[in-house]
Chain length 445, copies 2
Amino acid sequence: MFRQTSEFLEWFAEQQRVQRHRVTPVPLEELDGWSFDPETGNLGHRTGKFFTIEGVEVETDRRETPAWSQPVIVQPEAGVLGIVVQEFDGVPHFLLQAKMEPGNINLLQLSPTVQATRSNYTRVHAGRPVPYLEHFLGPSRGRVVFDALQSEQGAWFLAKRNRNMIVEARGHVPVRPGFCWLTLEQIGELLRADNLVNMDTRTVLSGLPWNWRGQAEAPLVGRLDGFADWTGERSLHRMTDLRSALTEVRSTAVFRRRRVPLADVKGWSHSGTSVTHEDGRFFSVMGVDVEAEGREVSRWSQPMLAPAGRGLIAFLARHIEDRLHLLVRLRTEAGTFDVAELGPTVQCLPSNYRHLPIERRPRYLGRVRLAPRSATLLDVVHSEEGGRFHHAENRYVVVADEDAPLDPGEGFVWMTPCQLAAFAQHANQVNVEARNLLTCLRFLR
Amino acid sequence: MFRQTSEFLEWFAEQQRVQRHRVTPVPLEELDGWSFDPETGNLGHRTGKFFTIEGVEVETDRRETPAWSQPVIVQPEAGVLGIVVQEFDGVPHFLLQAKMEPGNINLLQLSPTVQATRSNYTRVHAGRPVPYLEHFLGPSRGRVVFDALQSEQGAWFLAKRNRNMIVEARGHVPVRPGFCWLTLEQIGELLRADNLVNMDTRTVLSGLPWNWRGQAEAPLVGRLDGFADWTGERSLHRMTDLRSALTEVRSTAVFRRRRVPLADVKGWSHSGTSVTHEDGRFFSVMGVDVEAEGREVSRWSQPMLAPAGRGLIAFLARHIEDRLHLLVRLRTEAGTFDVAELGPTVQCLPSNYRHLPIERRPRYLGRVRLAPRSATLLDVVHSEEGGRFHHAENRYVVVADEDAPLDPGEGFVWMTPCQLAAFAQHANQVNVEARNLLTCLRFLR
């Protein structure tokens, strides 16, 4: 246990020394074990396991572009993202690990206790068993605090979900090398740092029940003038109406999707080195060789998805009836599991829109970017999961905007953070970007 | 408004006289507007609208049979099943209609205020507008009591969902011919009758929040000795653990499904007259010509699915910690939207299993069938939706069985009716058979 953040930082620096690793970009066609299917152009592993890169074609009335095709990661199996929690001296502590992922900017980040694909934990690659897995699966698992299948990035994954779990362990839990106990307060401090608390930890924590064990919500927001009271008991809309809004979109939207061969995706070029968008927008698919210690296996190769720039993930916030409300967008993407999920007000790669006139840029993007510094409640940089995404940084922002319209337009809806957290208790309601931002809002100090 | 059930019955008899209709079985290949695709063998309408009969192939570790293929109804659009509610003298009244459906045994049943496919309400077949639709969609809709996308029969439909809604109307609601106001108590009495309250009405009512407006729950169960106290506040499992059980199945089960041409479905024969299982089990697909008054259009032809016998839909019930608990099965079927949903203890066509040894029959089927009359809390016959299913009767049963095992085995879980109703508030958690049985349990008098 760390008494001060500085102690943690020393420990973490030591982990960076101990866990040696090297990540080397490699042309896709030279990736060991991976190849393009000669017929479809799909990229896959020789075992047929792990994941594939294929194409997807979408038709929808919920985006500016009515139809498009794009490459997409297909990984139908759900992994486990699990955090063990246990009280010491009456204070809940969360067991996290300093874990290397090839796509991480500084390689090591704070991951959940268990972060395992199904291939991992069924040991397809014949590595070592996954430590602490017994707390989440099987007869000796602990008392469940949270357990839901949650969606991953809909712009990059086809209907991918992971099982997000928080479990109170029974009995003594030995701390293995590379693992450490942190309080919610300490995690809240570490959330201030760029690229330290990884995406999986952030998404799992978004599922912690509201005010769980009397843990304070939103210390940052609470300290700001005029945002002291946001318990969410009063709100613009009832939960029934908010659920109804999501039901309406899911039952009336046009959303047709089919998998297509990667070779048939239009507007993308497939060199042997990488798969890229013809205008350099969106993302590319690249390959890496990884050498590491402290992992299940010490050497492997894999494709990764690398975004074309730093993304922006933002909520506009304002008072309504004296409560803080967030502007939520009912968002549809190529890979969305069920038509739409609750997302941030703005979620995009701003560079994708640089060449476009203002009216074709995402709604509210301008309001977020032009917000004065004094209105910024939150502004941190975190990155997406380093097991699939290479240097995928996003700026996570919450901006107070008391002039934002009460009637925000088709596809947008105001709700309190508490209401959003209630949705996040259930599977496939809140997208991963909004869950990550919610965790920052709830816990960052 | 009816002061007594007898008044309703007179009105209903009058409706049967007024709404004339005739349903004539017709060979599939003579069905007006419908034809088998020469390549795939799929059965569809010339407009490409309404629905198709195709094939589906399933592989799963959640059923006795690890893999099979079967015909299935494909109808990707969600319709609206909506009931208008309004208080008169402080008592909520529900607006139902006496509606003809070609598959109904006595043709006329009590349907929701609105029961419209998307083709209906976007008027693909250019009929009359759907009455009362404005209470559910658009700017003048009422206050939402319940709104969720709910699944239909997974054994017959491919991932089909309908939008289930209960809405409190604003202002005066004129009662059109064929419609009537009924209290929950009156509906509860009518639920005793065979094949009177239709499936759509029953599924929508299952979404009524628990103890809504002080409406009494489970008058029938409450009257039975020893089942007086079942408010569900104490229960064997916490909601978190129950949600976790569903998450576990959805994240670990093997469930692979793909659409195949109807011509490729094995074990089924396709004559020009009908599509049937080679052993006469499960169901067949037949055609009907319909002539009717009081419908959007007065004449049409369509295929229907006709089950091979009367089904059994049953909960075992017992006391646990002094509360009534129901034995719920986490059930997977060919068409289940998301791997599994909460279903009844037993849900089958018993005739399918007549030739099989006991150990290959559905678990707990014997316990339900051998239950003494005195242990039967509920035993009524209702039928499935008459717009798609021809004479699809099910016996809906709840049996008290104090010796049922507390540890009911893999895939089964005990929960209180209140907990099951909480799941039914959300989309795709409780299957249509369990929702229907829950409505009988909650409201039947």
